[in-house]
């Protein structure tokens, strides 16, 4: 078994530079790297991206800001189902653009009158204009559970919850078993079934190691509430892109934050609360 795996590994290392391939193969788990290890890996990645995309890409490793626990609010009365958040996310987070296109946010259309039974949801609605009468829209993305089933099932700890509550993936440690996809009740994870396609002119060069850096084939990826932005005091891209003010974001530990105001003053609920996953993603109706 072992030798087979190693053999497959050798044939996979198809990078032109064998030293880089060897370093990538032997790379440690992100959480076991020393600062020097990290610097070496970042240097290698930046050089690789420069070569691949012809652009200077800055790979950040900013840790969680002490005293932060990120929470999300989503106003179901406001969402019109335009999917601007979906595409803003694809751009910001350097998702594969085609064959297949990967999306971290999925907006589902529900008939008014039914919210829990998702079996009647429509994922590929495509009318000329939104919103459509008789329907409501429910955007779903990683709910950044406090008790994330995906983290628990990973056989190699390639995914974990950061101190600020974000569930992240070390794309270089993921073995591609897809157990986390099976375990997630929110479809919060997508898989790079093929080598991702990311045209050089479309790359977002401000990336985080645990977030939106370009991925490779056969690894899992997911929403991180834009770890590369929120740890620098910016909103996630979906919040900024929303034209209706549906999306709210803030620090759950800060009593004066907008998210805390919403939890206090709106009637919020979380998706599939019966599963005890404790999402930090709060849905509510403002009207």
């Amino acid at each position: 078994m072992l030798s087979l795996g190693a053999l497959a590994g050798l044939s996979l290392g198809n990078l032109s530079c064998t030293r880089r391939a060897r370093e990538e193969f032997l790379q440690k788990h992100f959480r076991e790297m020393t600062e020097a290890d990290k610097a070496a890996v970042i240097g290698r990645l930046e050089a690789q991206y420069q070569q691949q995309y012809g652009k200077a890409v800055r790979v950040g490793t900013e840790p969680a800001v002490p005293g932060t626990l990120w929470g999300y609010g989503l106003d179901l009365s406001r969402c019109i189902g335009c999917r601007r958040c979906v595409y803003a996310c694809v751009q910001e987070n350097n998702q594969s653009r085609g064959n297949p296109q990967l999306q971290w946010i999925r907006v589902i259309r529900l008939k008014k009158g039914s919210l829990i039974n998702l079996e009647n949801s429509e994922h590929y609605y495509d009318p000329a204009t939104v919103p459509e009468p008789g329907f409501m829209y429910m955007p779903v993305q990683c709910q950044q559970c406090e008790n994330p089933p995906c983290v628990r099932v990973c056989p190699v700890k390639a995914t974990w919850k950061e101190p600020d509550g974000l569930v992240v993936v070390d794309y270089n440690w993921c073995i591609g078993c897809r157990y986390c996809i099976a375990a997630c009740p929110y479809k919060g994870r997508v898989f790079n079934w093929a080598e991702p396609t990311l045209p050089p002119q479309e790359i977002n060069p401000e990336v985080h190691y645990l977030g939106n850096r370009p991925r490779m084939k056969n690894v899992v990826e997911k929403c991180t509430f834009c770890v590369q932005r929120v740890r620098k005091g910016r909103y996630p891209a979906c919040v900024e892109a929303c034209p209706t003010g549906t999306r709210k974001f803030g620090n759950l530990l800060d009593p004066a934050s907008e998210i805390r105001y919403l939890i206090e003053h709106k009637r919020v609920f979380r998706m599939k609360e019966d599963l005890n996953t404790e999402p930090k993603f709060y849905y509510f109706f403002s009207a």
Binding site: M1, L2, L4, G5, A6, A8, G9, L10, S11, L12, G13, F25, H29, E32, N99, P100, R106, I108, I116, N117, L118, E119, N120, S121, H123, V140, P149, R152, V153, C154, P155, V156, K157, A158, W173, C174, I175, G176, C177, R178, Y179, I181, A182, A183, C184, P185, Y186, K187, R189, V190, F191, N192, W193, A194, E195, K217, N218, V219, L275, N276
Partner: protein, 416 residues
């Protein structure tokens, strides 16, 4: 030096055999070759070459894996009736059962490897140099128990065979505790594999506590069915001395297991259909089709018909004690349980997906070619195991000191 000689003679041995043996091995190697060609394409392009997608993220590979873990478990559990009912030859049955288990485990692990997106990072799972998330991840548990089982089921038969080769009795103090240990371990591997799915609250179809008992019951059908066929083949080709009565006893036990399997399935069907909550959807998809999607419906009904037919054949003494109907029943069970526990268990777990989307999955030619290649590899491993084990146990392949000179292996029928 002695070990080297044994090794050398073993290697020499697997390269010679009857015409049927050579053709069989060549055939398996050809199927493996095709499988490797398709696997290289999968390595190069990614799992996109399969029918799996985010909605149905496991398919034929994991289905086969689950089935084979069952075969591996049941092969060893066969030792219990063999002991209780005094099937002769017991030592041969133990060796055969454990080698069948070892082959099935290797095959099951190859299916996991085929399903793994990044086999180059396989070492991440190895404790000390990598990180194995034990005890949190049930997949880590499975890695531990399956590899332990593999070691157990190679150590025991190899010990027995090597000792026999050198003309000695295997140490009972070593072998018997290990055989006894492998019995609960067999139950363990299949239970852990069931828990792998069972523990996922996101997938109501699997999140039913009846899953592990059903796994064991169906394994007790498919594993012995394979053993019945293998016993007969070895009786014909290698003169294995197993009596018909032993086969009939096994088939009687299979009738009971199939009854339990069908009963547990019935209990599950009742609960889902009578309460008819939204969690009925995967069951509905499997048996009736859901919102016009019904790819698995013909499969599961064919499998159910096969299982029920086999149950009846094995229940009636006259049909179970007739080698023709016995073999038909065994083939029906092998196929029926394969569908029930492969596609019929894995795929509906993903349909509808957690947000209600329905993506219909059926394996494509790449997955089928790779799977056939892996099955061929398993059969080849088992064939080679038998190629060594049988001559040793028949006393035809022994260390020179004990050899009767100039006597070519009788059942070989060709020159070495």
């Amino acid at each position: 030096m002695k070990a080297w000689r044994f090794f050398r003679e073993t290697v020499q041995m697997v390269f010679v055999g009857t015409r049927a043996y050579t053709l069989w091995c060549a055939f398996l190697l050809a199927v493996i070759g095709v499988g490797i060609a398709f696997y290289l394409k999968q390595l190069d392009q990614g799992l996109i070459v399969t029918s799996m997608r985010d909605q149905v993220s496991w398919g034929l590979y994991i289905g086969n894996f689950t089935y084979l873990v069952g075969v591996a478990a049941a092969a060893v559990l066969l030792v219990i009736p063999a002991y209780i009912y005094h099937f002769d030859p017991i030592k041969e049955i133990v060796v055969l059962g454990e080698l069948l288990a070892a082959s099935a485990i290797i095959t099951a692990l190859l299916f996991v490897l085929a399903d793994l997106g990044r086999p180059d990072r396989f070492w991440h799972m190895i404790p000390v140099i990598g990180i194995l998330s034990f005890p949190d991840s049930l997949l880590a548990w499975d890695v531990v128990v399956l590899n332990g089982y593999l070691v157990l089921n190679t150590v025991v038969p190899i010990t027995i065979l090597v000792k026999t080769y050198f003309g000695k009795e295997p140490s009972r103090r070593l072998v018997i505790p290990l055989v006894l240990l492998s019995i609960p371990w067999a139950v363990g591997i299949h239970t852990v594999t069931a828990f792998l799915y069972n523990g996922l609250a996101a997938r109501p179809f699997w999140n039913a506590s009846i899953l592990a008992p059903r796994f064991l019951a169906s394994a007790f059908c498919s594993g012995p069915a394979m053993a019945i066929l293998i016993f007969q083949i070895l009786r014909k080709t290698a003169g294995m001395k197993i009596k018909n009565e032993a086969l009939f006893k096994i088939s009687e036990l299979m009738a009971y297991s199939m009854f339990i399997n069908l009963f547990l399935l019935g209990a599950e069907l009742f609960k889902e259909y009578y309460s008819a909550t939204i969690h009925l959807a995967p069951m509905e998809y499997l048996y009736q089709g859901l919102h016009g999607h019904n790819a698995l419906v013909p499969w599961i009904w064919t499998a159910t018909a096969m299982n029920i037919t086999a149950f009846i054949l094995f229940l009636i003494p006259r049909t179970r004690e007739n080698l023709v109907t016995l073999n038909i029943g065994s083939l029906l069970i092998i196929a029926g349980v394969w569908v029930e526990k492969g596609l019929g268990l894995i795929v509906p777990g993903f349909i509808p997906d957690p947000l209600g989307e329905i993506y219909e999955y059926l394996p494509n030619s790449t997955e089928i070619a790779i799977s056939l290649g892996i099955w061929a590899c398993g059969l080849l491993i088992f064939t080679l195991f038998m190629r060594i084990a049988i001559p040793i146990q028949r006393g035809d392949f022994v260390h020179a000191r004990h050899e009767k000179p100039a006597l070519p292996p009788q059942y070989e029928r060709i020159k070495p």
